[in-house]
Symmetry: C2
Subunit: 72 residues, 2 copies
Amino acid sequence: MAEDFSYEILEEIAVLSENAKGWRKELNLVSWNGRPAKFDLRDWAPNHEKMGKGTTLSNEEFAALKTALQKM
Amino acid sequence: MAEDFSYEILEEIAVLSENAKGWRKELNLVSWNGRPAKFDLRDWAPNHEKMGKGTTLSNEEFAALKTALQKM
């Protein structure tokens, strides 16, 4: 896959885990291709040098997630 | 990518959003390849016929996420 995109991590909210190779699962605020920031839950290599799989959440999706977790 | 894996959605916890084509961003408990269930945040086509990008969370990662959200 061509990596023809840009991203900027605007805020590191939480590190959820770290594995033996130093990859972390993180919750961040990330701007993709200069667009407004979204919440982003993703695996990252040390120092954010590589990104793994993950998913982004809009403000509305993030609020819905928060509500769902509060009920659990 | 070969889809040489199996999955079973054990519990549908929350639907975070739905787009115009009916794809939903969902939080579910999913068992991959018969392994113990993990929390799974992912886009799904209607009736779970196709899966999109997403990320899985262990119990520990899920607890860390919950703690982080409670502080926000």
